[in-house]
């Protein structure tokens, strides 16, 4: 696989000493959908802004399509697209005019055919004469994406494109990205939602300005080496309480079930069953389910905390 971005010891310390990102190194491959996943303040946006050349690194460097991030910023900018979290459209311009404006900025002369393509692709053709201000949130976001793509960038950076977007528009947006990947583009997306992380070819879990883990979703899930036991019982909350008081399992309580992270079903289920039956709770259903990325992330964070306490 061809490396399209190679990051080496990249570091950003903001004025006042806040660490934006702390010495990260990794590569992103061509035509990959790569995810930056983590909570607010973990360093996702800082990394995107560094790679787009919008802010300067304190230390380290990156190679983007053979260009040096510190020296060839302008060349990099011609080849990338960036959709910021608070994207700006001109609300008093039409959909068509907004795209035209972005074509102008990027010096794209022959934009009309590309514009038609993008409108069709984002299913906005019927709305091309509408003022951008009149569009729904999901449509505005699709228009912003179309604007980002007008100059046919090789790499696009999308900073939390699905935050605050309703589920239908969110699904629609993922479908569009799935089509876009056919154009041999490389897509880098940040998201705070772990349930979206399964959609990436590979992802980096960000926390506290560092990368906790980087791999395919499947490999990250396998790295937990634990079993998740799902239990349906008559009193979920008492079950949660009884297990938390008597064991150290990581437990997630849902509205109608419990997920318990255990070493193995054979070893741990009898323990669980015993505690629950002592508390008069009847297990109605049980099964082993695959670990989720959330299970892994929480496990990593907890292990980290314990390590720190032991130091």
């Amino acid at each position: 696989m061809q490396e399209i971005i190679k990051i080496s010891n990249l570091k950003k310390i903001y004025e006042g000493g806040v660490i934006g990102i702390d010495d990260i190194s990794f590569s992103i491959y061509k035509n990959e959908m790569f995810g930056f996943v983590g909570p607010d303040g973990a360093g996702k946006t800082t990394t995107i802004r560094l790679l787009c050349g919008l802010i300067n690194p304190t230390d380290g460097n990156a190679d983007i399509m053979g260009y040096d991030l510190r020296k060839d910023k302008m060349k990099i900018k011609d080849n990338i697209g960036y959709l910021s979290q608070k994207f700006s459209l001109y609300t008093d311009l039409s959909v068509d005019e907004n795209i035209e404006f972005f074509a102008d900025i990027h010096g794209v002369k022959d934009y009309k055919e590309r514009r038609n393509e993008l409108l069709q692709f984002t299913r906005l053709t019927d709305f091309r004469k509408f003022y951008a201000g009149k569009l729904s949130g999901g449509m505005k976001q699709k228009l912003a994406l179309a604007c980002t793509l007008i100059h046919k960038p090789k790499i696009i950076f999308l900073d939390e494109p699905t935050t605050g977007v309703d589920p239908v528009s969110r699904r629609d947006f993922w479908k569009i990205l799935s089509d876009l990947i056919k154009e041999e583009i490389t897509i880098i997306i940040s998201t705070p939602y772990l349930d979206e992380a399964e959609r990436f070819n590979r992802l980096a879990l960000f926390n506290n300005a560092k990368i906790l883990k980087l791999d395919t979703p499947a490999k990250i899930r396998e790295s937990l080496h634990k079993t998740v036991i799902e239990i349906v019982c008559n009193n979920i909350r008492s079950a949660d309480k009884a297990l938390k008081e008597n064991t150290n399992y990581e437990i997630q309580t849902f509205g109608d079930r419990l997920n318990i992270v255990a070493d193995s079903f054979e070893k741990d289920f009898p323990v669980i069953e015993n505690i629950l039956s002592k508390n008069g709770i009847e297990i109605q259903d049980k099964r082993i389910i695959p670990a989720s990325l959330e299970n892994v992330f929480i496990h990593l964070l907890k292990t980290k905390k314990t390590e720190l306490q032991q130091l």
Binding site: P39, G164, D166, S178, R237, T253, F254, R257
Partner: protein, 310 residues
Amino acid sequence: MNSIEVKNLTKKFGNFTSVDNVSFEVYRGEIFGFLGANGAGKSTTIKMLCGILEPTSGDATVGGFSIKTQSEQVKRNIGYMSQKFSLYNDLTIEENINFFGGVYGLEGENLSNRKKWVLKIANLEGKEKLLTGSLPTGIKQRLALGTAVIHSPNIVFLDEPTGGVDPIERRNFWDLINTLSSEGTTVFVTTHYLDEAEFCNRILLINAGKIIAGGSPKELKENYIKTIILEIECGKTIDALTILEDSNFFGSATIFGNYIHVKLKENDTEENAKDFIVKTLSESKINTSRIDKISPTLEDVFITLLEKKD
């Protein structure tokens, strides 16, 4: 008695019907999820149930009080928290609690007891003197919920309460919600993050002002998803996607990380589809290494229901 009883509730703004003849109940002490896309009528409904917006017709009782004729009593018996926390950033945690206690008329020993309780359940003991503005989102969130229930309301409304917090904080927040609910407080939550709806005991889906489905997360998945979704692991994923899409055999096909997800057409069987996939891909010399049926998520339920409406 149910905590909330809604009967034929309707709200019109001019010619636009925001909430259209809606009826439902919320049981005492349950975590009730109210879900819908933006503009579906969630906020209008919450505003009516909180007694700050008058219905066009129909009525509801909240904690036994009518939202039409007893809206003042309704307001005093509920708590409310939204994603835009109404905390004062330049006050300390303790000062914020004092302020909200004051708003609800708590004073003296009563206030100091409730303050202790809020600090305890929100796991903020020892943090009283910290300035609110400097706190991480997760802690602000727990403080905001704590202040929303300082006056011991029977019902608390959480309007899109989470977002952007790390998963451990999110779990802490839901632990707090579970604690409130096990102490008998009814929790009414709106969210459009459907993975979060899994934490609710019962869920109602609203679209264009009307209720389109309801039940526990499990019931929703069992009752509303009739089509099968398959996950395919194969070589040349992108080429394979194009081939499967062009075949017109499926309801939809999309890239999902390193795999492809296909939704079968209604009445199509799993075996039939599996055979088709392996055969079609092998004709293009693409090797299929795995095909698994995947369990639907609440997001799948929601999208399926909305597609039916269109």
